[in-house]
Amino acid sequence: MEVNQMQRSFLEYATVLFREGFLDGQFSQLQMLQDESNPDFVVEVVSLFFEDSQKLLNDLTTTLDQQNVDFKKIDAHIHQLKGSSSSIGAQRVKNACIAFRNFCDQQNLEGCMRCLQHVKQEYLLVKSKLEALLRLEQQIVAAGGAIPVLSEFS
């Protein structure tokens, strides 16, 4: 595939992601931080995000399965997840975390369980999308092109 074409499809894809709210302006910021001295910045951050979030989600599942649910712990985990997702620009995950947090404050177990499912869903979605986007990036780089800078759409 031609570099231009690849770049175009990258842009289109990214636009869709922004429009659908999967990503927000923060992700663009991340892209801007990537330069010659730091060529894999975005990949590194995204990978770290995946690791972190996976672990958090597992912990959350375990904690919610307990007999006596420790809401404080849940709150702490959710806080972390919210922080990470907002740092990377994963908007829908962040919003889901906020909702989760509300239920946690109310100590509503049912609501929390539902929210957990929602967060997991969103996470998986954004994970697959990000992976796809990063694959496109790699292809562009491999073909010798420059990654187009995403401007703010939101």
């Binding site: 931080l33 730091n38 972190d52 922080g83 997702s85 907002s86 740092s87 990377i88």
Partner: protein
């Protein structure tokens, strides 16, 4: 005849004569022998007798004489030769001793006589000393009495006690029958009986002061004997009772005003009291000199004590008055403070309460104007908008004015372009002027600097107000505005000789003249222009709007800018000229204020270089940490990222200029970390600047950050630009001016 060694007596033996001679000789001998014995006895008794030798001699003489006479007894009859020899030898011895004694006595008797004269002399002397002792003792007594009296008098500062005690003590010391004190009345023309010793309640007797006897007493400072029948001595009106000898003495009443600073009070004060002392009539006592002296001394002491009491009374009155005044002042101050506080509270509340709806009205009206409206509706909305703008201005003016009067208003100094300011002001006024078909001309002198340092907003307000007034009061013609640098000569306005502006290297005075061809002002009304809420032309209110505050506020602003505002007019119909001079700073000199709201437009958008800037980042969220670190690295910083508070405190060194702390970490008290970091560095210069990163924009978080000494708060998510701006701000100013 028988031969015998007998001697015949020389004379015939007369039986009778011989008998008597015999007896006499015997007694003589007896006496002569007893005298020395007596002498010895008495001399032994007496301790002092300097003439023992004389005594011995005299004794020997007497004894021998006695012996002679004794032996003579045997010679009356026939006696033997032996007796004759003894007799003769005795006589010879006696003769020798008596001659010696006689010779001795010549020396002794004058001495003995002189002893006697010395004795008489000493006796006289002793009598004299006794007399003198008596005198001294009397004086001592007197002195003691006076001291006691003085002590009693001076131990109290109460006037009544002083006087009463005086009378009592005098009475007891001198054994008086009666003692009275006459005090002068307020007018000084009469003396009133104020205190007596025996009379418990003296009736208010008065005697005129001009009586000869009283004058006599007042004219001397000695105690004067007066007649018992004089009016001051007649204390018991119904009495046939006549007191004994009477003495009167004056008691000077000194006043505080008598004590001038540099001279002692001369007793030229006319106020005296009269003290009258009466001896008992039945004792036939006389006034002795020492008693008179005592009375005089007491009178003086009483005068001093009274003056002390008077001074004390006056000072206590003054002190009480002061205290009262203090209390009243304090009360007034508190009231004033309460009033000011109440007004400030009211203003603060009204400020907010009034502005909020005002803004709502203005904002919504403006928005409304942007929608589709029919012409009528548009007109209505425009009127609403104009009116509410006016109202908003009025509210601001009122609030400004009260702050101006408080002195709490401070100019907001900044650098601005003079030309731009004038242009903008005139652009605002031009539409109104053109509607009225008035021209506006502006001429800015070429020696006016391009930029100046001052309060741009308020200067604009002044220009708008002054030029607006000019336009308002002109029906035809126009307004011309000219601004130039004021020269020192032109600065001296003869009307205000107190205004001496002195230009310096850092400042210049700008003079602006606004001439209009309007209705002019009556010169008498000019002062009223600057008064609040006063319209100078009540009949022109149809065209004029405004609260009447404008000029008053402008004047105050101009004063704050160390300048002057004045209006001249030659009279009604002749137009008027408003002139104001303000002090402005010259930019580019060292007087650039540090706390400036730097206009973003005037500075070049140079991307500041942070290469190598050592910073520390604390965030427990790994993703967040990585992102922020990447951001900082991209800007050029040398970042040390940590994930725990303890680690952060440990790794911070004096090389790190900034520390970024995420304050929304649960389980880590970032504020504690901030405090500990600051404690780690004792020297202020080594301390890094601490900045908080948070997702919370609430006031509480900001307050907490400020309290622990953080220099700024950055809201997450952080963009590249935001981080750049924030970092440059904090490095330049030491704190974040604005945080978003």
């Amino acid at each position: 005849m028988e031969l015998c060694n007998c001697i015949e007596p020389p004379w015939p033996a007369d039986e009778l004569l011989m008998k008597y001679q015999y007896i006499s000789d015997f007694f003589i001998a007896l006496a002569y022998f007893s005298i020395p014995l007596e002498l010895i006895y008495f001399v032994k008794k007496s301790a002092v007798f300097p003439y023992r030798w004389v005594l011995v001699q005299f004794g020997a003489f007497i004894v021998l004489c006695g012996a002679t006479h004794l032996i003579n007894l045997w010679t009356f009859t026939l006696h033997t030769r032996t007796v004759a020899v003894v007799m003769t030898s005795a006589k010879i011895l006696t003769a020798a001793v008596s001659c010696a004694t006689a010779l001795m006595l010549v020396h002794i008797i004058p001495d003995l006589l002189s002893v006697k004269t010395r004795e008489i002399f000493l006796k006289n002397k002793a009598a004299e000393l006794d007399r003198e002792m008596g005198l001294i003792r009397t004086q001592e007594e007197t002195g003691r009495h006076v001291r006691m009296l003085t002590h009693e008098i001076r131990s109290t500062l109460d006037r009544h006690t002083i006087l009463k005690t005086t009378l009592v003590e005098l009475g007891s010391t001198l054994g008086l029958e009666e003692c009275a004190l006459w005090m002068p009345t307020r007018t000084g023309l009469e003396l009133q009986l104020s205190y007596t010793l025996r009379h418990q309640n003296p009736v208010g007797f008065t005697v005129p002061t001009q009586l000869p006897v009283i004058n006599q007493v007042f004219n001397t400072n000695r105690a004067v004997k007066i007649s018992p029948s004089s009016p001051v001595a007649r204390l018991r009106p119904t009495g046939k009772y006549m007191p004994g000898e009477v003495v009167a003495v004056r008691v000077p009443l000194l006043h505080l005003s008598d004590f001038h600073i540099h001279d002692w009070p001369e007793l030229s004060t006319k106020r005296y009291a009269l003290m009258v002392l009466m001896l008992p009539s039945d004792s036939a006592r006389q006034w002795h000199v020492h008693e008179l002296e005592l009375v005089e001394v007491v009178a003086d002491q009483v005068a001093v004590a009274l003056s002390h009491a008077a001074i004390l009374e006056e000072s206590m009155k003054a002190r009480d008055l002061l205290m009262e005044q203090n209390v009243a002042l304090d009360h007034a101050r508190r009231e004033a403070e309460t009033a000011v506080r109440a007004r400030n509270d009211f203003l603060a509340v009204m400020n907010h309460e009034m502005r909020t709806p005002m803004h709502a009205i203005i904002a919504l009206s403006s928005l409304l104007l942007e929608t589709d409206l029919s012409p009528e509706q548009r007109l209505m909305v425009e009127t609403i908008l104009k009116s509410s703008n006016l109202l908003a201005t009025l509210i601001n003016d009122v609030l400004d004015l009260s702050r101006l009067e408080d002195g709490s208003l401070q100019l907001e100094i900044g650098t601005f372009s003079l030309h731009a300011l004038f242009r903008e002001a005139l652009n605002l006024i031009r539409p109104i002027a053109s509607v009225k078909k008035l021209y506006i001309t502006m001429s800015l002198s070429p020696d006016l600097p391009q930029y100046a340092i001052g309060d741009e907003k308020r200067l604009m307000q002044i220009i708008l107000n002054v030029v607006g007034n000019a336009v308002k009061f002109s029906k035809e013609g126009g307004v011309s505005v000219s601004a130039f640098v004021a020269k020192p000569d032109s600065l001296r306005d003869p009307r205000t000789p107190d205004f001496f502006p002195i230009p310096s290297d850092n400042h210049f005075y700008m003079r602006v003249e606004v001439k209009d061809t309007g209705s002019g002002i009556n010169p008498q009304d000019i002062p009223k222009l600057f008064m609040k809420f006063v319209h100078s032309q009540p009949h022109a209110t149809k065209n004029s709007d405004g609260s009447g505050l404008g000029l008053a506020i402008c004047k105050r602003f101009v004063n704050l800018m160390e300048g002057q505002l004045s209006i001249e007019s030659e009279g009604l119909g002749k137009g008027s000229t408003a002139i104001f001079i303000v002090k402005l700073g010259i930019p580019g000199r060292s007087n650039e204020p540090k706390l400036s709201f730097v206009h973003k437009g005037t500075k070049n958008q140079v991307k500041p270089n942070f290469s190598g800037l050592k910073v520390v980042l604390l965030d427990d969220n790994s993703v967040g940490r990585m992102v922020t670190k990447g951001l900082l690295v991209h800007i050029g910083c040398d970042v040390l990222a940590v994930s725990s508070g303890d680690e952060c405190i440990r790794v911070v060194t004096h090389e790190h200029k900034v520390v970024f702390l995420d304050v929304s970490m649960p389980g880590v008290d970032s504020f504690e970390v901030a405090v500990k970091i600051q404690e780690k560095f004792s020297k202020r210069v080594d301390r890094p600047l601490i900045v908080a990163l948070t997702g919370n924009n609430d006031r509480m978080t900001k307050e907490n950050c400020r309290r622990v000494g953080m220099k700024g708060v950055i809201l997450k998510p952080v963009s590249l630009d935001k981080m750049r701006t924030a970092l440059s701000d904090i490095l330049e100013h030491g704190y974040l001016v604005e945080s978003q």
